[in-house]
Symmetry: C2
Amino acid sequence: MFAESTVDVVDAMRMAASFRLPVIPFGAGTSLEGHTDALHGGLSIDLSRMSRILAVNERDLDATVEAGVTREQLNIHLRDTGMFFPVDPGANATIGGMSATRASGTNAVRYGTMRENVLNLTVVTAQGKTLRTARRARKSSAGYDLTRLIVGSEGTLGIITEVTVRLYGIPEQVAAGVASFPSIGQAVNAVVATIQYGLPVARIELLDPFSISAFNAHSGSHLPVAPTLFVELHGTPSGVSDQTAELIDIFTAHEGGEISFATSEQERNRLWRARHHMHYALLAQRPGAKAWGTDVCVPIGSLAECIARIMPDVEAAPFPVSLLGHVGDGNFHLGLLIDPESADEMAVAKGINEKVVNIALALDGTSTGEHGVGFGKAGYMNDEHGEGLEMMWAIKRALDPLGILNPGKIFPAGRFALYSPANADHESGG
Amino acid sequence: MFAESTVDVVDAMRMAASFRLPVIPFGAGTSLEGHTDALHGGLSIDLSRMSRILAVNERDLDATVEAGVTREQLNIHLRDTGMFFPVDPGANATIGGMSATRASGTNAVRYGTMRENVLNLTVVTAQGKTLRTARRARKSSAGYDLTRLIVGSEGTLGIITEVTVRLYGIPEQVAAGVASFPSIGQAVNAVVATIQYGLPVARIELLDPFSISAFNAHSGSHLPVAPTLFVELHGTPSGVSDQTAELIDIFTAHEGGEISFATSEQERNRLWRARHHMHYALLAQRPGAKAWGTDVCVPIGSLAECIARIMPDVEAAPFPVSLLGHVGDGNFHLGLLIDPESADEMAVAKGINEKVVNIALALDGTSTGEHGVGFGKAGYMNDEHGEGLEMMWAIKRALDPLGILNPGKIFPAGRFALYSPANADHESGG
């Protein structure tokens, strides 16, 4: 069904509860881990028509939008206000969907993820009640942080219908540049040094030579085919010029080439737009292929080791693999370009994904930095959380006693067998 | 009892569960809302002996400490590393206690509160199980955000025994200054303009004339007795000099006096140390008095209105009242210096507190910006959260079915009557 208001969602939720029908929220459909699949059948609630921008509070630097508003729509709306919303996963996802998966993107190293940028949410519960998770104040110590409990809960604890997000003033000065490095290791070490130095980079992105080839072919650029960092600095004019000088020092110390700066806003936008279209640029490198993206994130000091440990498998793969990512956060993606018809390639891809997850977990990292769990990563949750998964499950059972909110997501499949009708009866009467 | 390890807490928790004994965690005892009172009797677990710094990861800019480590202890330990931990409530609280109440302080406008600065926690559950709420990666989309659920839960969902916090590089350049304004309204408007402009102030604190008198008397300073802003800027040398120029422009536009800058690190430390001792400076203004601190926080654009609406009551009060606060976050405190023997003064103080909370709630703000709920603010939680409180309660019941974790805190008193032994039996078997 298409929801056009919170009340529509309430009505659908009550109906679904009375029939014990699973409910699966849907936004722009850009999820990479199967979040919107109806694994147990049920009702898909499409929120894309809830696309009104309800309020822009310039004085408070925030905006309240319906869940179906996309990030690009919001930024176009803000164009004349001098403010912007920074969180930018590659796709033009909805703000509701981005909240549900705790999305981030290239700007997170400076501005944070959806975790830091959602002020409050309007949520419809499994019982068809409506609540707001918090007030609009920037900070509060008033009880449990429901906002951050719902952010990243992937529709399994309630359905997000409205979101209040933080906005930021567009920086006075912006400088974007590109620099090549002799090896991936040196590029990564330059990023680690930049973060450890405390340089407040707004974006710092790694692309391996294969990604640069794809980038050049797709965007008509002529960047040297080498391990490359894309970087952006925000601040006052002399703040940015200080940062630039420091960045050049750090890059030089790691044998980076000269930083080539985009001189105009147009050129800068073209650079980042092309970076956001990397998914398509990569697919074009192997027509007919499917891209499988890994998504681990580790403490920044372990990033070089994490990449070094998976590289032998990447190099031995029988299909092209790109390496790129939000390295300033310790997050990177391998893009495995596999033939979807080939069981062999699928098996190798699965092996690489599993191996990089296990390496990341061993380094105190996470199986998913920004894509979410869906059902694609559900099998890793026991290893990642241990006893913590029991706490998550207790919360899930308490808030969704009938098990109708996006079942089969986040938790390993076996858990949902516990939602037998007998159990559900017992729980809902508790 | 004194806990000396997580295992001690596990043992105590299991024993308490078997006797259905309430458990109340205790750190430095600096709470302002009665968090550590044993309202229903039970066992106080004192974590102050868990004061080991377990790891400082310079490469990852984080540290893991036992819950009883205080913020000053951590910063002294970090002294030679070039890093610091920024969250600074006035008191020398424990990191565990600061996590439990979602504390903040003067630096939150730039560095965030405990919400943003805790990476993960080790928690002992009501069932005596131990879990870690997250990995050490800077971001993750792997399931529910247990870290932020436990931060601010005030010992009602589990007992925090270890905390991993973010660290920051000590800024290259720091400038701290003081400026007077003709009225509180103009000082507040200068702060609002500073924030809306996007100037990344590290601290920006308001003190009213009464607070300045107390400050002068207690610290031997000679600041003009007027509404005053204390401000601090962090950055590169020329970044700070840009920020200083912009700050002077903004202050001048709001009729602020010249900014008097602390020239040495020693002078700067003296300024902030004195600011942190304001509680005692104020008490010295009325010997024998007790200070009752309000703690509302509103969206920044409504801060001037919130203060203006409570000022008539402040001016009519039969006891001295200070106004000071972390105005860059929209958070301020009234310090009501009451005679604890006087029922009349208590009644007026109660009325002022209630009124300022209601004003803040009407402005989409919160009853508590940083002190927490304890039992002092529990009566406002229905008004503040509405249906959200039902969700919090469902989580509380699911994670603490026996109702033994710090009972009587966060939720209005009536709720706990639901924890009858019969109910508890039913729940624990669910």
